[in-house]
Amino acid sequence: MAEQYSSFQRGGTRWVLQRLTAVFLIGVLAFHFMLLHFVNHAADITFLGTQARMSQVGYFATMWLFLVTATFHGVNGVYNALINMGLEGSRKRAVGGVLALAGLLLILQGTRVAIAMTNLL
């Protein structure tokens, strides 16, 4: 019989954001794989090639949004998986804080890396 399993409480803000980011990530993750493994072979990636791509405003913006949405989607997914496994109370708040901090640091470092790759700024 048809059954549905989800780690999320349907209808919540994080539930909606998880799905909205999923829609964006489906396209961008597939594009990322295609561009950097099939159009350009991974072994042939050079700093100059990366810089040429990252110096296009549209590409830079897409990759930065990719970083932010993937980080949110991944960290939010981990948080919900842990809640699903019974995390609650002060441990839930502590884990939520650590995950939020880890996500923020990843976005900051990813932004730093993206800026280093571009000559737009």
Binding site: A2, L25, T46, T50, R112
Partner: protein
């Protein structure tokens, strides 16, 4: 008219032989999700070589990693994980929109078959190169 069955707690992996297609989809989606977020942190760490003053550090790091067969094989694994997560994610989005719930077991099998086909077709591109 759908009926519901008490299949027990999905986290009780000891009874995996009793898992239905939907439960396997849930387990695989969780597993692939954990791999992908783990990879994202690793990916940014490797790409951080771009912040070095000498641009050859970035180029040589990527080239050095791609020279290793084990890295290229792991990339095939990453592709498999990403493709399944994408296809099953599309399946979940449709179910959330109220479409395909009654065929959710078939669409799970379809996700697996398509993942297998895409990964097998991609092996030459990923593994080939500087052996």
């Amino acid at each position: 008219m759908s009926q519901s069955y008490d299949r027990g707690t999905i986290e009780d992996f000891g009874r995996w032989r009793d898992f239905s297609a939907g439960m396997w989809a849930w387990v695989f989606h969780k597993f692939t999700g954990w791999v992908l977020i783990g990879y994202l942190f690793t990916h940014i760490a490797v790409l951080s070589t771009a912040t070095a003053a000498d641009p050859t550090v970035y180029t040589n790091t990527i080239s050095g990693l791609e020279d290793l067969l084990i890295v290229r094989l792991l990339e095939v694994g990453l592709l498999a994980v990403a493709v399944f997560h994408i296809l099953n994610g599309i399946r979940l989005l449709f179910v959330d929109l109220g479409m395909g719930l009654t065929a959710q077991d078939k669409t799970f099998y379809l996700s697996l078959v398509l993942t297998g086909a895409i990964v097998v077709a991609s092996v030459p591109t990923f593994v080939g190169g500087k052996l």
